[in-house]
Amino acid sequence: MKKIFSLIFISCFVLTSCEDELDINTNPNTPKEINSGLALTSAEGSVATVIGGDFFNLGGMLAQYYTQSPGAGQYQNIDQYNINTDFANRSWTELYAGGLNDLQFVQDLAIENEETGTYLIATVLKAYTFQYLVDVFGDVPYEEALLGNDNIQPSPTPGAEIYTDLIATVNDALAKYEANPVASDVGQQDLIYGANMAKWIQFANTLKLKMYIRMAYTSQADGPAVMALVSEDNFLTSDAKFSAYADALNKRNPFYDVQIDYLGDVNTVASNSLLEFYNRKNDPRIAEVYRVNNEDDFVGIDQGFGLDASLGGTLGADYSRPKIEATTPVYFMTVAESNFLQAEALLRYAGGSGVETKYNEGVAESFMLYGVPEDPNTFTGAGGEYEYSATGDVEADLEQIIVQKWAALANINNIEGWIETKRTGYPILTTLDIPPYQKGRRIVSFASVLPGDQIPFSIFYPDNEVTRNQNLIQKAGLTEKVWWNQR
């Protein structure tokens, strides 16, 4: 027995002396610390991937820029308005646990180090992202979100409150920066504006305008605040875009990498809603939004009709497909969009004065953005297809703005295109057998499984969230509207 104890004793001795050798549980594959710039880069990448990927595809079909091709069926559930509860798993996760979580990290670090410039960038990007979450899903976790272990089941915050708070935090970040302007040192790690603070302030202002305009049909509409912004007139002067793509696996434009490269360019084809609009207006943007089919023609399909048996045997290549390339940038906000926002602001809150200018600039900027050489004035000038005609009726005038905005967001920011159609109802949803596409019309998808002429107004919360968060109750259906959708 003595020997046993001496053995145990020896073992214990060995143990205590090498207990330290058990301290090997720090992951050697990852850094122990990172800086704001690295996290900001990743956050921008996450947001760009969703805006330019999942949302781009979803928005493209719901805004009726694209429709499901016959001969394939990857996205037929979107055209069927039968979008499942697991549809948004990836985009939701990427936005919250990817983008927003990193932006939160950048914000925290910036506050700690009193870097008001970096703080401003992170804050506006965060607000931009949260706005999309509300616009696509409705009430989402906000106040209780991003707290990690401290709250793993965040309750949703009403969308209206989120909007109010987003504007407040953006204002607060602007104020902090103005009070103590510490330029961000992230430099080129900011892949959108290269840490150019003047441009980020413009982004902040444009974003606020976008939020105010979204609230136009609600009791929270705030004309004076909008007009204050408009009179300050410090909106985007250059497009906010993520353009760091390269033609290599996992480094391409997200839509291109998946739909065109991975899935083989067989699912998404031109919807007649937009293609025929361009076509009948002789709009040169048709050739920048779509590619010609295998017979050198622009051919689309009526929304959802690709699922019809009569098109059996035809393929994606028989139709026009989105013209997105490997290195096409993902646009967060554009100057064109900013002009249309201002046009709407002036229409609503300044009695319509100056609307036409902003409208014309919007169209002109859009032409420039797509890189079409034609003179936009031939379209917006007197007698032109897109000549703005003020009728005095806000809705009638708004329709002109929004149809143009819709035509200017295709392939640029598709989800914004869809959100604006549901907010305003333009292009008008028609149930006519032969839609007057030249006026800018949407139709109820031929493949719809929803009763009557219902269309989706929001997306199901993803299963990944609902099954893990008992405080978030799944919505009744896709026709449920987000808070500002009160028209």
Partner: protein, 1052 residues
């Protein structure tokens, strides 16, 4: 041979001597049998007072020289010793009775400790070399299939080199491996799986345990419960498979040669409908990859693409054995050679084996080779015993990918039922090449994919151990044992560019593919040190104490590098450099360590009553510092009551009762408890990612794993009772066990709601219970010395794994599967469940259909059922008559569900026999309703009058609402193994240098019976690995095979 020669020489000499010197040495011979008349091979025959002795041969015959008046002593372990005096009669036939007191076989238990079977208080199954090698399997797990109760062995597939998994007594963890610990000669070895379970191309190159050559195995002991496994610490929580390898025996040099050849064929394909051919929506389209076309009319019709203004012609009719004809005969050759021998003090054994396998796919795209070389030596020098073994293994394999996308089988199942698949063999001819292949769907010509895409795996492995033992005194010794297991492997996977010629039918279609190339290398090392102090002391005449104390250090390290490119430039050359892209590369290292201090003590009373206590303390590097040290232990007891009540031995010749309780602590993987920053990346629609650096800018981000500084080890607590009973001189034996195990503090990934900013946290979340029974019944129905023998053994087990508790913060644990139909665990339910979409129903149960009459899915998914077998049964029958023997094993598994992509894809393409309801004439879904909106926009239900028409038949069969159709009962009965053997009689061999020869004809997996609902596959198939997720089912798995072969076993 020497012995035999010696024997005959002796005989000859003896005769000569007898003639000249009568009264001198005489030859005495006879047969040794047991009291039922069965020959007893191997009995030692010794002349008393001399050191001369011989062994009885296989038939119990012996021959030895003796002088009249000398005493012959017959002895054998477990038998009463017989003493016979040689007087005149030169024939002495001996009957030896079983010795109740010495019946015990010695079993190697935890940490290499040897104990008598009687002393074990927990269920331990031991399988000997003969049973292991009977079927000439190349890996251990397959060799054990159907032979051990309570052990569920699953093979992912019958592909060459594919892995087999072993799960003992049910699921004990939902996160991580449920595989047992493999211990070879006291040293734990790596058993990682080299497989890729991606849905877009899965490969399986086997598990670490498959590198062990079964031919080198003397015995396998399977320790099932915590009561027995406590001494191995965390990794034994799923049981331990203890392998003792063969070593040389004192005596002459022996050479063993074994050669095995097998030929395999496809055994099961999904059953096809024979009435409808190519097309979609009822129409005949020549580019469709499905059979939704019109009814066969047998008329000649053109088909395929128009090439050079010409088109092919064939009758529009069903192609019989369309899939079968694609496959060829697979081959399997296994050769072993071993040389062994030794002296009283030193023994050595050298072995070499070669396995060469080519699967049933045409070409050698599915092949596997393995070479093993091993040496095993032991020497006793005074009080020192030094032993060791060293093994070198190299394996190389190529696999044919399974899954969706570019996998061959997936492609085959999308070919319409009227096309002759084998006709595409010449994949370069103008109709069959990628430009003009009849369809752009389902990727391209399967022969192209088979020939041009591929994978290669190779591994170099060295493992071995070395031990030194010092006899300190008569009753104690000290041992140091060192073990090493190290391997490096390399995987390459490539897919060819598919580039149809511009202007050709497939140009610009989904057929186009940029090609890929991936290369990965990894290096894995495990080091193990044990210091053991053994005491074996008879304290009094009645009381014996056996105690072992030890200290263990175990460390495991892994490093790997993976690089890939998403395109290839030159056709036919596969390399990272053959791409315009920069390769994306990742590297990983991982290290873990544990220290353990342990003791096991057995007190024995009169070889009748035993009490064993185990205790172990572990220190884990993978747990938070505060929770790092874990103490656990167990007790077990056994009572050989037939030694207490000797009177009953006429009926019950051996009876033992046992009971035990044990605990084991279980740690987790390295680096799971602290949050980390990770390389920046974004999930792009589930198909791709966005990876940095971009434009020269790198990104890092806050990882999605939240910290958990409070993580505690899992704790497995197990109670078991059992009985081992042998009746009528062991003609009937029964081993029965009931166990009940609970695993508390389940370490699981808590999926966090993404809105928290994180998606996962490793936490203690639940409790699993497993309870079940295991029974092994052996019957010797016929026993006759020179006649007919029939042994039957039945092993059965029933296990119920349940997730008894789950933290409130989650309502289910995701275990894998697909996003649509998935594998989950829910509190209070059996593990694991399949959940999927169901039709939307009204309150009164009517099915809701859409405007086309096709059922709509309900918004909530439902659980279809669980994936556990209700019971498993292994039936082995061995018949022998003289030198002939016939054995077969039936494997019966009943209950449980599985998902089948094979069912899904053949329903989608309309190939499956299940797609012909109502002869594909329009039908109205019975008792269905449609939704209408009333004036207020509320939903109302009206009776459905819309029939599912021909154009929507395919939508019906692939409706989300009907996803349950792809999930079915996975029960089966399999004729696992049939072995028919003939051993050449000794007499025939007497003139040759050969000692033993036997030939066997072997069949494997000859038949499988499944329930009606399974028209598709061999339900054992899995592409989700061989652990818990493997229970989910298959995702276009390669078809299984049946094989027939023969083996030749020779000993010189």
């Amino acid at each position: 041979m020497k012995k035999r020669l010696h024997g005959f020489l002796t005989l000859f000499l003896a005769l000569v001597v007898q003639l000249s010197f009568a009264q001198e040495q005489q030859m005495v011979s006879g047969t040794v049998t047991d009291d039922s008349g069965l020959p007893l091979p191997g009995v030692n025959v010794l002349i008393e007072g001399t050191n001369r002795g011989v062994q009885a041969d296989f038939d119990g015959n012996y021959a030895i020289e003796a002088v009249s008046g000398q005493v012959l002593i017959f002895s054998f372990v477990g038998l009463e010793t017989g003493r016979y005096t040689f007087l005149q009669n030169p024939t002495i036939n001996v009957i030896l009775a079983l010795d109740a007191a010495q019946l015990d076989e010695v079993i190697v238990t935890a940490v290499g400790i040897k104990r008598e079977r009687s002393s074990l208080g927990s269920a331990t199954t031991t399988i000997g070399s003969e049973a292991i090698n009977q079927g000439s399997q190349s890996n251990i797990a397959d060799a054990l299939k159907g032979k051990v109760a309570g052990v569920n062995i699953s093979s992912a597939s019958t592909d060459p080199g594919a892995s087999s998994g072993v799960i003992i007594r049910g699921t004990s963890t939902l996160n991580g491996s449920n595989q047992p610990l493999y211990v070879i000669d006291g040293i734990p070895i790596n058993n990682e799986s080299s497989s890729e379970t991606s849905l877009d191309g899965a490969y399986d190159f086997g598990r670490g345990s498959q590198d062990v050559n079964p031919d080198n195995i003397e015995t396998i002991s399977i320790l099932k419960g915590a009561a027995a496994t406590t001494l191995y610490g965390s990794r034994a929580a799923n049981g331990v498979i203890i392998i003792t390898t063969k070593s040389g025996k004192a005596g002459k040099l022996v050479v063993d040669l074994t050669s095995t050849a097998f030929f395999s064929q496809i055994s099961r394909t999904p059953k096809y409908q024979e009435s409808f051919g190519q097309g979609w929506d009822g129409l005949h389209y020549l580019i469709e990859n499905g059979s939704w076309g019109p009814k066969f009319d047998g008329q000649p019709r053109v088909w395929g693409s128009v090439v050079d203004n010409s088109q092919q012609l064939k009758p529009y009719s069903f192609q019989k054995d369309q899939l079968e004809n694609f496959f060829t005969t697979g081959t399997y050759f296994l050769n072993n050679v071993a040389v062994s021998g030794g002296s009283e003090t030193s023994t050595v054994r050298l072995s070499y084996s070669n396995l060469d396998q080519d699967g049933i796919y045409p070409t050698d795209a599915d092949s596997f080779q393995r070479n093993t070389i091993g040496i095993n030596a032991k020497s006793k020098i005074g009080i020192l015993t030094i032993g060791g073994n060293l093994n070198y293994v190299n394996t190389a394999g190529s696999g044919v990918a399974t899954g969706q996308g570019l996998s061959v089988y997936n492609n085959l199942m999308q070919i319409p039922t009227d096309l002759n698949i084998a006709g595409f063999r010449d994949y370069k001819n103008k109709f069959n090449n990628v430009s003009n292949y009849y369809t752009p769907y389902g990727i391209t010509n399967p022969y192209f994919t088979l020939n041009e895409n591929g994978s290669e795996y190779s591994k170099e492995r060295v493992y071995g151990s070395f031990d030194v033992a010092v006899d300190i005194n008569e009753w104690s010794n000290l041992t140091y044992r060192f073990g090493l297991d190290q391997y490096s492997d390399r995987t390459a996977v490539w897919e060819a560019i598919v580039a149809p010629v511009p202007g050709s039918p497939n140009f610009g279609s989904s057929t186009e593919y940029p090609g890929t190339y991936l290369e990965a290398t990894s290096s894995v090392k495990q080091l193990n040190h044990d210091i053991l102090y053994d005491v074996d002391l008879d304290v009094t005449e009645d009381i014996r104490i056996q105690t072992t104390s030890g200290f263990n250090i175990n460390s495991r390290t892994l490093s790997s590098i993976t690089a890939s490119v998403g395109s290839q430039d030159l056709f036919g050359f596969y390399s990272l450099s053959n791409s315009g892209e920069d390769p994306s590369a990742t590297s990983e290292i991982s290290e873990r360590k544990l220290y353990g201090l342990y003791n096991t003590t057995t007190l024995g009373y009169r070889n009748t009553l035993y009490l064993t206590g185990n205790i172990r303390n572990d220190w884990y590097s993978t747990l938070p510092k505060e929770n790092r040290s874990v103490l656990y232990g167990g007790v077990n007891t056994s009572w050989v009551f037939t030694r207490t009540f000797e009177g009953i031995s006429k009926v019950l010749n051996y009876g033992k009762l046992r009971a035990g309780y044990g605990e084991v602590g279980v740690d987790t993987d390295p680096y799971q408890i602290t949050p980390v920053f990770v390389a920046g990346s974004a999930d792009n629609q589930g198909f791709r990612d966005l990876n940095f650096p971009l434009a020269g800018v790198n990104g890092f981000e806050v990882g999605n794993r939240a910290a958990n500084p409070n993580l505690k080890p899992e704790r497995r607590k197990e109670f078991e009772i059992g009985a081992e009973l042998e009746f009528f001189k062991s003609r009937i034996s029964l081993d029965f066990t009931y166990y009940n195990a609970t695993v508390e503090n389940q370490i699981l990934d808590l999926p966090l709601s993404p809105s928290s900013g994180y998606t996962i946290q490793r936490a203690n979340l639940g409790e699993i219970s497993n309870d079940g029974i295991e029974a092994l019944l052996k019957l010797s129905l016929f026993r006759s010395r020179d006649g007919f023998n029939w042994d039957t053994s039945l092993n059965s087990s029933q296990n119920n794994s349940e997730l008894t508790k789950l933290d409130d913060r989650i309502n289910q644990v995701d275990l894998g599967g697909l996003s649509s139909t998935s594998l989950i665990a829910i509190e209070g339910r059996r593990i694991a469940l399949i959940q999927g979409s169901v039709p939307r129903r009204t309150d009164s149960g009517q099915m809701v259909v859409d405007a086309d009459g096709v059922p709509i899915a309900a918004s909530e998914k439902e659980v279809y059922g669980d994936t556990q077998y209700d019971y498993t049964l292994g039936v082995t029958n061995d018949f022998s008559y003289k030198n002939l023997s016939l054995g077969f094993t039936l494997d019966v598994r009943e209950g449980g569900l599985m998902y089948s992509r094979t069912a899904n894809i053949t329903s989608f393409t309309g190939n499956s026999i299940t797609t012909t309801y109502n002869d594909r004439q329009p039908f109205i879904v019975p008792n269905s309703v449609q939704v209408e909106l009333d004036v207020d926009g509320n939903e109302t239900f009206v009776e459905n009058t819309t029939a599912v028409d021909v154009a929507h038949m395919d939508d019906y069969y692939s409706a989300t609402a009907l996803a349950r159709n792809d999930v079915f009962d996975k029960s089966f009965v399999k004729l696992r193994e049939v072995v028919f053997s003939y051993s050449f009689p000794k007499k025939l061999l007497a003139q040759t240098p050969i000692d033993n020869v036997s030939v066997s004809l072997i069949g494997r997996n000859l038949f499988v019976w499944t329930p009606e609902s399974n028209q598709f596959i061999d339900p054992e198939n899995s592409t989700f690995g061989t652990d818990i997720e493997g229970q989910f089912g298959e995702f276009s798995a390669n078809p299984s095979t049946r094989s027939v072969g023969f083996s030749l076993k020779t000993r010189f």
